[in-house]
């Protein structure tokens, strides 16, 4: 759970300055930018995301590296499941079904 997920900032939320839409391999979700307030990202920037919060700004090449690492570790699917699960503006989190792990 210490692995972070790379994503690209698509747009900042007009209503809530703390939130932005990120794209992670085609999946778009809102993440919280509050931990990057000293160096706020703008659309087009790449960030590492951890549990729904952008944790650091990275380069596009590093984002590609990180996604490759997740894939090599067999964690890419779990990472995508995590991203799809971010529910800041979507359906509320579901109760766990019979299969909860990756």
């Amino acid at each position: 759970m210490c692995l972070a997920i790379p994503g690209k900032i698509i747009e900042l939320d007009a209503q809530n300055a703390n939130l932005a839409v990120v794209d992670v391999v085609g999946v778009r979700r809102k993440v919280d930018l509050g931990l990057l307030q000293d160096d706020s990202p703008v659309p087009g920037d790449w960030v590492l995301i951890h549990v729904g919060f952008a944790l650091s700004k990275i380069s596009e090449a590093d984002a590609a590296d990180q996604m490759r690492t997740l894939t090599m570790l067999g964690e890419a699917e779990a990472a995508m499941q995590e991203v799809r699960g971010y529910g800041l503006e979507h359906e509320e989190p579901e109760s766990p079904g019979p299969k909860v792990e990756q």
Partner: protein, 374 residues
């Protein structure tokens, strides 16, 4: 952006392996600890152990938050959330971790309202959506995760959302390293420092390990080449009798860390006088608790916590494995009573636990992995 590539730079990996063999003095035995569970997972997944000479041994550290959480904390959390007015929210990693009377998932099967969330912010959202219920977020994690919980608590307070609280189990990595170095049965020559924890705390907090303890630390990325390069950097220092903190993962880890994240942690959390770690016992100032200013959002200050203490199943040797005294397969229960499907000890539950990593990948050889993955 390309997402899947070939195993990056196989020739560089071979070169790093060669360099390690050259640097390792054949008359010495090197014990290098990778602190972070993500690294443990990567080391097994990529079969990196097989690329190292027999006198360079990797010891798996305490950096898997699920694994070091004592069972009593799970019991405490579940007992608090026991009545119908509660929703127990936690990350998926927690769901199969056994408490004395079952895992959160088993409590769910018995009718308790248990939800998986992927972000503490989603637990807060649950509270917004269910004003008639109290949502307790069971928080775990090192400094990678703690700032997100802290910020969520700030948001809850700012909104005045009173049906939300956090059962805080956040731990800090530095005191755990100190406990390991203080432990008489441990001899470690150097550390592969955690990657994403260091994104938050930076590299400075490791300085004492080099300056006071004389052990080199190299903060490392997670790719096979990153980890091997970090071992090369450690061996170079050891060859020259040096002990410094180096940053192999500069592309992601700033030397100073993330100051905004550290500020929000400081604002919301304070250090607990002591906290129990599975396998390591009580370690002073090794965990975070919620400051009194946020008492209303702290499950432990708001409700009565039973304070359960549970000794681990006697036959399981999690303690020895966690301290690196035993290898996973040397535990009496490994692969028989204790498997990832039916874990007895927490090291088997999380993919970052050394037992689960060993169990899942022990049959793979590096070449097979390189071919199979791509």
């Amino acid at each position: 952006m390309k997402y899947v590539d070939e195993f990056r730079a196989p020739e560089l990996i071979a070169k790093a392996g060669e360099e390690i063999r050259k640097l390792a003095d054949s008359g010495k035995h090197y014990r290098i600890m990778e602190v972070c569970g993500g690294h443990t997972h990567a080391i097994y997944r990529f079969g990196l152990k097989d690329l190292l000479p027999s006198n360079v041994e990797l010891i798996h550290g305490p950096g898997c938050p699920v694994c070091v959480l004592p069972m009593g904390r799970i019991d405490d959390g579940l007992s608090l959330a026991g009545d119908d007015n509660f929703i127990f929210a936690a990350f998926g990693d927690m769901m199969r971790v056994p408490g004395t009377h079952g895992s959160p998932l088993e409590y769910k099967a018995r009718g308790m309202d248990v939800r998986i969330v992927y972000s503490p912010a989603d637990a807060l959202k649950l509270a917004r959506n269910h004003p008639e219920k109290h949502v307790m977020f069971f928080a775990i994690g090192f400094e990678t995760t703690a700032p997100s919980t802290a910020l969520t608590l700030k948001r809850a307070k700012a909104e005045g959302l009173r049906n939300f609280s956090v059962f805080c189990n956040h731990v800090t990595i530095i005191p755990a390293i100190r406990a390991i170095l203080d432990s008489p049965d441990m001899r470690i020559d150097g550390f592969v420092g955690p990657g994403h924890v260091s994104t938050v705390i930076g590299c400075r907090p490791y300085h004492w390990i080099a300056s006071d303890e004389g052990k080199p630390v190299v903060v490392s990325g997670f790719e096979p080449l990153d980890i091997l390069q970090s071992i090369v950097m450690l061996l170079r220092q050891l060859r020259k009798n040096e002990a410094r903190v180096e940053n192999q993962y500069k592309r992601v880890v700033p030397w100073e860390g993330n100051k905004a994240a550290l500020r929000v942690m400081e604002e919301v959390f304070e250090l607990r006088p002591y906290f129990e770690w599975r396998g390591l016992g009580f370690i002073s100032q090794s965990a975070l608790k919620i400051r009194p200013e946020y008492a209303e959002w702290d499950s432990e200050q708001r409700f009565t916590v039973p304070g359960v203490r549970v000794t681990d199943p006697k036959a399981a040797q999690c303690r020895e494995v966690l301290k690196g005294v035993l290898k996973p397969a040397q535990c009496k229960l490994f692969g028989r009573e204790c498997t990832p499907e039916q874990p007895v000890g927490a090291l088997m539950v999380s993919s970052e636990g050394s037992c689960a990593a060993y169990y899942n990948y022990q049959h793979l050889k590096p070449v097979t992995i390189a071919n199979a993955a791509f």
